[in-house]
Symmetry: C2
Subunit: 319 residues, 2 copies
């Protein structure tokens, strides 16, 4: 059979987006379901499987679909399960064999992995990493994730959970408390949450320094606020990005010593602040990189459209 | 043809050891040449190639050899060259296409890589990592090196220089000066040299504390001295290993977040102090490992015979 299309599924904490994708990375049609309105993994899988079947039938693509690729929080590529995840009601206490459940309902082969690995595959198939065999995608969102490709293959580890670079400790003493229960993780500094945290810290530490961020009093400051302040040339906001970029650049030196990638690609919400993050990041890298890697690794901002990237990344698993 | 043997070449800073190895990892016969007595890479390659040809002929193994595997400092698996290396007179200023030179002289295919990668391949083929697809070998010698296997393949990076985990910075502020020109690298703490350095530091910092190491006055204290002192239950020597094991355990937490290996294998001279290093190492890991990896990664001491391991590791490249 001549398979021309794959299904990409991006399961988020709230919505699950589904798209049919062609070989060039065009999303032909979409649908979505709520992630959290189901009480069991089976019920969620059934709703998702039926949504997929309907989308295929409605678009007259029966027998033209090669398979399903899915990106999920805690997705384990090795065994196709979603590991227990605190913020998904139907996966709170147990692993859910999602790939198998979806195959049972749709008759299509299904592979899944975590969001950051899906992003890496998306970059490889359709984005900045086309043709690269060694690269790292760092996802800068609410948290910090990573997808590592070495020798053309995703590094998944013996248990399927490799690539948690957001939880490499960049500050070993008196670091910020992390949601993982430890402290000093990269995620506590270089995520959207980390940027907002830095802003609040800087505002408190330098009470004399004026900043438009001080006008925000009725809600917590967000990373978007910091970005908008930087756009207005706010000195404190610019210092926040300088600090963030430096910590990230410093961490990248260690990541490069691991897999010597051709490129590191920054992906996700905070990557849109690339023009503020990249100069201090590169300056710090230049200062701290081991001499044998000097000037070899490109630092890129993802060129994929945010709204599409997650579906595309997931779909890349199915080719 | 039925190839039953391969050649393993271990090029050290002083000697180059050559052995013929069978499929089970037995070294049938050996020879060696001096590494440094040649003025050009071509002259060295010629001497080495002829030594290999002679060893094969003398043992009646012509036409039974599959190829040559070579472990060298700065060996680049991607292109078969030895990168410029300060301590090798004939490779001081330029890369030497060693694999090609050896093939020209012996008529055998040749692959080379750096020592730590060769050690990793040796563990995979003949040692503790048999059957493992994801593991990291940390070589604890004069320096600290590493060979990373992910998904069954050696991680070499886009330029062939991946896996410099000895130069991950474990102390970011006021760390020890490293030979690489930076500071705080793992190598400055967890190598044989690092252990000796720690001992000298501890002796100076606690002048009141008795230690048999104080009796060594006519030469610099070595890591072997520290080991022997620990064997005599010397408290300061034991504290040195405790400190070293903890730094290493802490660093391993970050390495595991990268590739989630089934095992980390400690290899090389300092690994013989495993009984002193492992308890603090494991204690620190238990304390600092990200929860999803807890209790999953084995920490092993290489079971390969030191004298043979380097040749075996290199030979594994040729199968």
């Amino acid at each position: 059979m001549n398979f021309q299309y794959v299904i990409g599924v991006d399961m988020g904490g709230t919505n699950t987006a589904v798209g049919i994708v062609d070989t060039r990375g065009n999303i032909l049609c979409r649908t979505q379901i709520q992630t959290t309105e189901y009480t069991t993994g089976e019920a969620y899988a059934e709703a998702l499987g039926e949504a997929i079947n309907r989308l295929i039938a409605d678009n007259g693509l029966t027998d033209k679909i090669k398979g399903i690729g899915m990106g999920t929080p805690s997705g384990n590529m090795n065994d196709g399960t979603i590991a227990p995840a605190a913020n998904i009601p139907w996966a709170k206490n147990q692993a859910v064999p999602m790939a198998k459940l979806l195959t049972d309902i749709t008759g299509l082969p299904c592979r899944l992995t975590n969001d950051a690995n899906a992003a890496a595959l998306g970059e490889k198939e359709y984005g900045s990493a086309k043709g690269m065999r060694d690269f790292i995608v760092i996802t800068l969102g609410t948290g910090v994730g990573s997808g590592i490709v070495a020798g053309g293959e995703l590094v998944v580890g013996h248990d399927g959970f490799a690539g948690e670079l957001g939880h490499v400790r960049v500050v070993r003493h008196n670091g910020r408390a992390c949601g993982c229960g430890r402290s000093g993780c990269l995620e506590t500094y270089a995520s959207a949450t980390g940027v907002a945290r830095t802003a609040r810290e800087f505002l408190e530490r330098h009470p004399e320094q004026p900043s438009v961020l001080r006008d925000i009093t009725t809600r917590p400051i967000s990373s978007k606020d910091v970005f908008e302040a930087a756009e207005k040339n706010d000195a404190l906001a610019l210092e926040v990005f300088d600090f963030t970029g430096k910590i990230l650049g410093d961490a990248l030196c260690d990541f490069i010593a691991f897999s010597s990638p051709q490129a590191v690609i920054l992906f996700g919400g905070l990557a849109h602040a690339g023009k503020y993050l990249l100069p201090p990041l590169k300056e710090e890298m230049e200062k701290h990189i081991l001499y044998i890697y000097k000037g070899k690794t490109q630092i890129l901002i993802s060129s994929l459209n945010d709204a599409e990237a997650a579906i595309l990344g997931a779909s890349a698993l199915a080719w």
